[in-house]
């Protein structure tokens, strides 16, 4: 399945990546090469094969719904780009 520049722009928006016009040409070509490699798997019939999501077909383990973490907000927020009064600051969302 070949991609054109507008497909790549659409995917980039879904992934919240910014790619300028010059880069788009290059990225489209590279991704086209990778998809050609991936498309080799279309050569065999897998209609009777169950998908394998986990190498041992294991399922998620559950635990009791109990609080196990201490509140370390100040310590954890030391890595944040911008905070105030314990909140994360971002550009204005609502006009």
């Amino acid at each position: 399945m070949a991609l054109d520049n507008s497909d790549v722009e659409k995917i980039a928006h879904l992934a919240r990546l910014q790619i300028n016009e010059v880069e788009t040409l290059e990225v489209t070509r590279r991704i086209g090469d990778i998809l050609a490699l991936i498309d080799q798997m279309q050569s065999i019939d897998t209609s009777d094969v169950a998908p394998l999501a986990h190498p041992f077909d294991a399922v998620q383990r559950l635990r009791a719904d109990e609080v196990t973490e201490n509140n370390q907000r100040d310590y954890l927020q030391r890595n944040a780009p911008s905070t105030q009064d314990g909140l994360y600051l971002v550009p204005k969302v609502i006009e």
């Binding site: 995917i11 910014q18 790619i19 190498p55 041992f56």
Partner: protein
């Protein structure tokens, strides 16, 4: 002092030949002298290391030392180490100071190991040459113009050049085994779920697994003994008993059935690697093993399936880097979308962006079945091929890589060529099996690696076979001149 295995260093520490503080100082001096050439470390935590070494010496004097107490190691920079910068080889996390220790870091700390620093790696572990690191390429200690392999290239180069006694790595499609092969050391990827992934920065969660990089299989067993075990904080870490992996190292290989995968000795394998493997098979035969040809008919599809599954999982995992809570944020965003897009585009390198785009595409509406489900179906076929092979043999042995280490810059402008570097290792991750690469030859001064694969949770068998090979050969003792 440094030219020793972990087992030898441990004995020397026990005999009082030197202290952990002296040993740590020796490594720190060597790092200081050589790291500017090799670029194996992104961060050296010398002060913290000396504090740990002092504590390890005290542990020993109280008679509480275990095999790793006082042994200096390096962590791949994918593992969170509390209050130390943890970058994952990316500008995105260039200033991230981890607020906690990864599970394996906790376990190795508890065992008294000394952390020298954090090693260089391909950005977010996406690469096979260590050239995608934001912090620059790592140089292979055997030939500084060549790559060390990747993505755990800094860890492999550090062990090979005696810049640490042992190192941690992570392996999603070959990222421990391939650099181990290129650097002439031993690298083990455990079974999926054997080692906790908690605190290991996620790339592809159904494939990622942490493991040791060491000089010898015996050292790998000593490290795995500490690293492995259940952890409630990683829901995919299996609740399985951990054997003593050193207990069976000396078992005889008499009657061992070795599978030779015919697909791994076909077109694409270089002559020198094939010849080294043929020599290795003679060694195994002399130890009483028998060779059986095995068929892995879908192995040629492993790279295709992997480049759907790994990017799809990566695109989901890497969505957390949004410039809000931690990581890079662009300057003066005009609105929220601008902040997301510019922070991510500035923070991620080209290869990471490519994989996010591929993964986003594979998971997008209308393509999910054709790509993601199809790849998971191929994944089951690959697993079934291994199951069938392991009904006939105990281990499968073949090359780790098609050839020896390539030149820096030789392959980094063509992603597909780079992806095919992992053609022998990827299927093992898809099937969740344990695999090890050990040195098995040398060509024009460059090491050759041999991959041994065992069935589910048979790491002890893998280490036994590797250790017996190392008892009867000396490839693992060869050192680069640096």
């Amino acid at each position: 002092m440094l030219n020793k295995t972990v087992a030898e260093l441990s004995r020397a520490l026990n005999k009082g030949e030197f202290s952990s503080v002296e040993l740590t100082q020796e490594y720190l001096q060597r790092i200081n002298r050589l790291n500017s050439q090799i670029n194996a470390y992104i961060t050296v935590s010398g002060d913290e290391a000396l504090v740990q070494a002092t504590a390890a010496d005290a542990m020993r004097s109280r008679g509480q030392a275990g095999p790793l107490t006082g042994i200096p190691l390096a962590h791949k920079d994918i593992f969170c180490v509390r209050d130390v910068r943890t970058t994952c080889g990316s500008r995105m996390l260039g200033n991230f100071i981890s607020p906690y220790d990864a599970a394996i870091v906790e376990r190795l700390n508890h065992a008294g190991a000394v952390t020298l620093g954090k090693t260089n790696m391909d950005e977010f572990a996406m690469g096979s040459s260590n050239e995608t690191s934001y912090f620059g390429a790592v140089h292979n200690p055997w030939d500084m113009s060549r790559v060390p392999g990747g993505s755990s290239g800094g860890s492999a180069a550090a062990v090979a050049a005696d810049l640490c006694a042992m190192a941690t790595g992570s392996d999603t499609g070959g990222s421990i085994r391939q650099p181990a092969a290129f650097c002439g050391i031993t690298g083990l990827k455990p079974s999926y779920g054997r080692v906790s992934r908690w605190g290991m920065i996620a790339f592809a969660s159904s494939l990622d697994q942490a493991g040791p990089l060491t000089r010898t299989a015996e050292d790998a067993a000593l490290m795995l003994n500490v690293m492995a075990g259940p952890d409630a904080r990683d829901s995919t870490c299996l609740d399985k008993e951990t054997p003593d992996f050193t207990a069976t190292l000396n078992d005889s290989l008499q009657g061992l059935r070795i599978g030779i995968p015919k697909q791994h000795f076909a077109e694409g394998l270089s002559k020198e690697v094939e010849q080294a493997l043929q020599q290795a098979f003679k060694v195994f035969e002399s130890l009483g093993a028998t060779l059986v040809e095995v068929d892995l008919p879908n192995s040629h599809l492993s790279v295709s399936a992997y480049y759907v599954i790994a990017p799809a999982e990566a695109s989901a995992n890497l969505s957390r880097y949004d410039g809000v809570r931690f990581g890079h944020r662009c300057k003066d965003p005009i609105n929220l979308e601008d902040m997301y897009k510019r922070s991510r585009s500035e923070g991620f390198g080209d290869e990471v962006k490519r994989r996010i785009l591929i993964g986003t595409y594979a998971l997008s509406a209308g393509y999910y079945d054709a790509y993601y489900i199809k790849a998971q179906q191929i994944r089951r076929l690959i697993k079934q091929d291994f199951d069938k092979a392991f009904s006939q043999v105990d281990v499968i042995i073949g090359p780790t890589t098609p050839h020896t280490a390539f030149k820096i810059g030789e392959k980094n402008d063509d992603p597909v060529t780079m992806y095919l570097e992992d053609i022998y290792t990827i299927a093992v991750n898809l099937a969740g099996l344990p695999g090890i690469s050990i040195p098995s030859g040398n060509s024009n001064g460059l090491p050759i690696g041999m991959q041994i694969v065992a069935g589910d949770f048979a790491e002890a068998k893998l280490l036994n076979v590797a250790h017996q090979f190392q008892r009867h050969t000396d490839w693992h003792l060869h050192r680069p001149e640096v």
